[in-house]
Amino acid sequence: MRIAASLAFAFVLTAASVSAQELRTYVVAGDAVPDSLTGQPGDAEKGRAIVANRTVGLCLLCHSGPFPEQPLQGNLAPSLSGAGARNTPGQLRMRLVDPSRLVPDTIMPPYYRLDRLQRVARAYEGKTILSADQIEDVVAYLMTLKE
């Protein structure tokens, strides 16, 4: 019971995952960011670890997915299973970088955006939730989720 509660809010206690860095510029085409933020393809295995980690990706706070080793998954959002069949890499990149471009009042946090935020805790100021490399890793991983 106690584990459940502290895990749910474990993201409270961890330091920022990404150090301050310049935001890379990217081009939006429709509902997608077609080009890799880093110019390189991401690493799907690293991406899985990011998604599964409650203090790094935070994804499982809200989403569920094919993570049998993770008993505590959220249901505020659709399952990530099949995300790679429903979306192109560019759509997934857009979804992560700034989900409000797709759903204006979404609760999904903007993982690679620094503007239009208020009262960000000092420890996270000027930092994106994920780095450009991490975004690419997560995109690569999500593209493996075909069903």
């Binding site: 509660a5 706070l61 505590l72 505020l76 939730i129």
Partner: protein, 258 residues
């Protein structure tokens, strides 16, 4: 043009809203109702509820003279079950001769510094939590009844604005979780509607009793927003708003949380 089925829809909609009105239409749930049966039982049983240890400690403090005035709370107020009944249900309130509200802990500290001429008790200190728990316990099962003081309206509005404003690196508002997604799972935890009925609360994760402010602070930090100072106008405004939002719900303190 006649739309078949339109009339039927109207009837159904009317029937549904009528049924809701009959049932009071109140969809509010307290955190207690979301707890497991085991935790509910533990909270109900005065011998197993760990919060009751704080209530007992509060009773001792209540009767103990303190400060330069060497007076006990009991010297002015007598027994809690008469003098303090319903008091916790109507705080935060604006004290006489003041223009800003205080919550119950703030009120206790006003008596400490003003009447007893003692030092104010520190936030989350055992003594402050014990007195808070003891006085709040005298209102257990009574409905939350915020005062009608018109000066509170402005504070309540500020609280509502804070509750609905997105903040922090995760760009979430309190309302995103507690109004729009209550009942759903945030990882392992059921998101409660966020009513303040059970506070101060015993939390096993904390291994102690904690105030409502401590809970609010945890949520603010969870959003990766900058926590407010313990004595900030912001927490107080949120408390005022939350008590208004929970008007009529019964005090459950000391509650138990995992």
């Amino acid at each position: 043009m006649k739309r078949p089925g339109f009339g039927l829809t109207l009837v159904l909609v009317f029937a549904a809203s009528f049924a809701a009105a009959q049932g009071g239409g109140d969809k509010r749930r307290t955190g207690y109702q979301d707890m497991s049966a085991a935790l509910q039982q533990m909270a109900d049983d005065e011998t197993s509820n760990p919060g009751l240890l704080f209530v007992k400690a509060g009773e001792v403090l209540w009767k103990q003279p303190a400060g330069k005035a060497n007076k006990a709370c009991a010297d002015c107020h007598g027994a809690v079950d008469t003098s303090m009944k319903g008091v916790a249900a109507r705080y935060p309130a604006i004290p006489k001769d003041a223009d800003k509200p205080v919550d119950l802990e703030g009120r206790i500290n006003l008596c400490r510094t003003g009447q007893q001429q003692a030092e104010a008790l520190k936030p989350e200190s055992e003594d402050l939590l014990a007195l808070d728990a003891y006085v709040t316990h005298a209102s257990r099962s009574l409905p939350i009844a915020p005062p009608a003081d018109p000066r509170l309206a402005r504070v309540r509005e500020l609280g509502k604005a804070l509750f609905t404003r997105r903040e922090g690196q995760l760009n979430l508002s309190c309302a995103n979780c507690h109004d729009d997604n209550a009942g759903k799972k945030l990882a392992g935890a059921t998101i409660p509607q966020g009513h303040p009925t059970a506070y101060p609360v015993y939390r096993s994760e904390w291994q102690t009793l904690g105030s409502l402010k401590r809970r609010l602070r945890n949520c603010v930090i969870g959003m990766r927003a900058e926590a407010y100072a313990y004595d900030s106008a912001e927490y107080l405004a949120l408390e005022v708003y939350l008590m208004d939002r929970a008007k009529g719900l019964k005090i459950e303190s000391p509650g138990i949380r995992p």
